[in-house]
Symmetry: C2
Subunit: 512 residues, 2 copies
């Protein structure tokens, strides 16, 4: 079962044994988490994995076509058109590395012709719905609360392939996607496909999207190499942090929609504020009381700043002190999140920050140091550091939400497994020539069969059902030397297929 | 490099991708940890892994021949003969599952003829030195401070293959091995070999070891299905916990040596005490002040008891209150250890206990519950629970020792790697027909080559050296779609070999 989800090569070996996961986000309903799914990206292999939050297991992995370096990810929060769909039905995925499309080795190696794709995956079927081909790259992703807009910050509008090239422009961009228009274009057949992929790809390049009335995308400029784009809980703004600029850029979403409606002269008029907050700003969290918390990588700080005050300051009110507080963190913070920060129900209680260097905070354990996640109390005016926690490098993105939004199951439903061995007496060895099925029920502390015998050369499928109904009574099953080890939770059924190629006596045992 | 350590099949695939690690112990000098190595068992595949504690990496894995279910493990603390060798040179490994020896599928399936092996691995070369064939099984392992004795508790002296059979005898055993005599027997050629293995196997069965003067092994009986054997820090006793008996058995090592010298009438006369401590006793830790701390699985408690008082009580002094304290833990504790507990320098400060059920202690996260490690302050008369920590199931064995006994390195030595790419300018692509070597040095934030080109069909070895010397400046290297991802710590060199079978442009990037 695991191999099927993980994907195999023609010879049955796993297609990939490495991954590089960065961002996880969960499904929404009415602007808050609904506890159905979470998703996480694999940057190396451009895969999107879904986790069922009822059983806390990965149930689907989708490999995105035409892309490399799938990085940012965000579920939509409602449908842009149908008001009845007030929950997540799409997951948006940004690709960081521009490549030839298709990428068969026969294309031009002129990097200015490389493209990246912004991909929409169906939240239920996990099939790729559509892609938008763009110039420049995609870094992080955010979605609006009204379902109409999604955006990616772009640090490489230059389409460079080296650091100096990527850093040459003074301003890069936050690129907005008009979801309804894109889906209409797909419906209208205004798409191409590339290589082996059948996924419809629409044209989101700047050259083709200059007319607001028909544009699928809208480019708002932000200073040099922005890192991170986050939606404020009130649904009004996206905030891009500057990374190589000490600024945060506040973009007014209603004005971006105005631009698409032909009512705004230029996309940059949607910038409500662009204010200095500190050196190396990366990611931003929110407390639901109008404040933003941005990590400052170079300053090794979290800066708390008030969004409305920043907008007033940017409008010329120099008396506005938009920076509320600064807190030193240990050290070089990257990802940050607050309790319920990514929802309309941001509660302003806790902030967690992932620091990329721990230096002297932990005992030495060799060349690879632990990194440091810190918990901060943000319930008051001043931030208060509460606890450190060592983590394996490096601390990527995370979300924090209330326990009552989750209702995980403790026991599986036996009927979900068509091959379940429902009773101890159904256990046995069933042979059809060389194909042998070993059916096994287990009830603590023993398996139903004290032993089973096979012949060398048999192709064996072993099906194990845990018939215990008691919460947390998980069973394990291992066969020495046969590279077999798995668990079955209460009322769960799992199976494994192997070739009986090693003669002898083998003690199958419970590893749990 | 990793594949070589992990072991491969003839087709180059990893031989095993699963493992089941239970017990870790570290190397000794003068009865205390010396910070050189730690070892850990893999029960499924009967492998012993060594971890270098200077770099905190696994550098050797040895698969033990003739055994299944390698469970208990303990390094010796000094040589039994040579007083100059006051440090670990052997690691003893017990096998839990009795099997035919050899196990080729042609042997009798009469379980009373199955045997298990007690294995000695060389701590430096990681080669198997010798094995002792025994009747009954091996569970946990302990070693004496004088280097002369090692022992395993046996819960299946019945050689049963089902639970009722294994539980039929009222007493099982603690089986002692006379290390010097075994090695003399090997030197004298009194051994056999089995199957493909060239490892010398001596005869440690009860039938062949009745004469104390020549015996290699000594069987001390302990009540029904003991679980765990631990050496007291004063070097005097091994303690076996009863599991299915509510007792702890204290065995006097000097008397076991007396038996081997023909000075003790029967091995059971070495039992200094056998006292009731509670229901389901499993493992024992020590505070260096004469007290033992034993987990009680069924009572969900840790019981603190005084070893000398227990011996006096067993000798008839009914006034002795050997139980000092009991503490409820949450819930069903198994492994336990105290700071420096397994050394002569046990300091009696902290106790940690691995509980196999957490029940209501943590938020629900699906059918597989977290389990619970609890930290207990044992500096006073009463034990005080200090903290809970959730862990992935299940919490196996661990040791706790002082930071000053470890001196891990923060930066590698470039000269340790013969293929190091020592300077940025040494980077390049070197081709010999289809064999291509890509030499690459990296210095944050970039790799020395902005790009390298290969031809489809090339057999590529990529060698990457991190030339940064700054502590914690670890680099990563990944190739999308090529299943390549690894790290190089400062001044470290690593390599990967792959076939260039997918044409196109691929962005190699740092995953760290």
């Amino acid at each position: 079962e695991s191999k099927k989800i993980m994907g195999t090569k023609p010879d049955g070996q796993l297609k990939y044994t490495v991954a590089d996961t960065h961002h996880t986000h969960a499904s929404y309903k009415d602007g808050n988490y609904d506890g159905r799914y979470a998703w996480i990206n694999d940057k190396i292999n451009s895969r999107l994995a879904r986790i069922r939050l009822d059983y806390f297991v990965c149930d689907e992995i989708t490999e995105l076509p035409n892309v490399q370096g799938f990085h940012g990810i965000f579920p939509d929060k409602r449908d842009p058109v149908d008001p009845a769909i007030n929950y997540t039905t799409r997951v948006f995925c940004g690709s960081e590395f521009q490549v030839p499309v298709p990428n068969t080795g026969k294309e031009s190696l002129d990097p200015t012709k490389y493209r990246s794709m912004f991909t929409c995956v169906d939240a239920e079927t996990m099939e790729v719905r559509w892609q938008v081909m763009i110039d420049g790259n995609c870094d992080l992703t955010a979605t609006s609360y009204d379902g109409k807009l999604t955006a990616t910050n772009q640090y490489n509008t230059e389409s460079g392939v080296t650091y100096p090239e990527m850093m040459s422009a003074e301003r890069d961009a936050c690129l907005f996607f008009n979801v309804a228009r894109i889906e209409q274009a797909v419906k209208d057949g205004k798409f191409k496909t590339y290589g082996d992929s059948k996924v419809p790809v629409v044209d989101g390049t700047r050259e083709s999207n200059k007319d607001p009335k028909t544009a699928l995308t809208c480019t708002v400029s932000v200073p040099k190499n922005p890192h991170g784009v986050n939606a404020t809980p009130d649904g009004k703004y996206f905030i891009c942090a500057g990374k190589l600029s000490p600024t945060a850029t506040v973009i007014d979403l209603s004005k971006v929609l105005d631009w698409f409606d032909g009512k705004l002269e230029s996309p940059d008029k949607a910038i409500a504020a662009e204010v200095e907050i500190g050196l190396g700003p990366l990611h931003t969290a929110f407390d639901g009381r109008g404040n933003a918390y941005t990590t400052l990588f170079l300053d090794s700080q979290v800066v708390k700043w008030n969004v409305d005050a920043a907008i007033k300051f940017a409008a010329g009110d120099n008396a506005q002190k938009y920076v509320v507080d600064r807190l030193d963190v240990q050290y070089q913070p990257g990802h940050i999140n607050a309790s319920q920060s990514e929802t309309a129900a941001a509660d302003g209680k806790w902030l967690c920050v992932g620091c990329k260097f721990s230096k002297d905070r932990y005992l030495p354990v060799g060349p690879l140091h632990p990194e440091n996640e810190q918990l901060i109390d943000i319930s008051g005016e001043k931030m208060v550091l509460v606890a450190d926690h060592p983590v394996r490098p490096e601390p990527h993105d995370f979300i924090i939400f209330k326990r009552e939004l989750l209702n995980p199951k403790q026991v599986y439903s036996m009927d979900d497994f068509p091959h379940a061995v429902k009773e101890l007496k159904d256990s046995g060895v069933f042979r059809e020539g060389k194909k042998v099925t070993v059916k096994l029920a287990s009830q603590a502390p023993a398996f139903a069969l004290p032993e089973f015998r096979l012949k060398v050369g048999d192709e064996v499928t072993l099906i194990l059902t845990n018939i215990d109904k008691v919460e947390d009574l998980t069973h394990g099953f291992a066969i020495p030397k046969y590279n077999v080890n798995f668990i079955v939770n209460p009322q769960e059924t799992a199976s494994v297929t192997f070739k009986a190629d090693k003669p002898g006596v083998f003690w199958c045992y419970c590893t749990h």
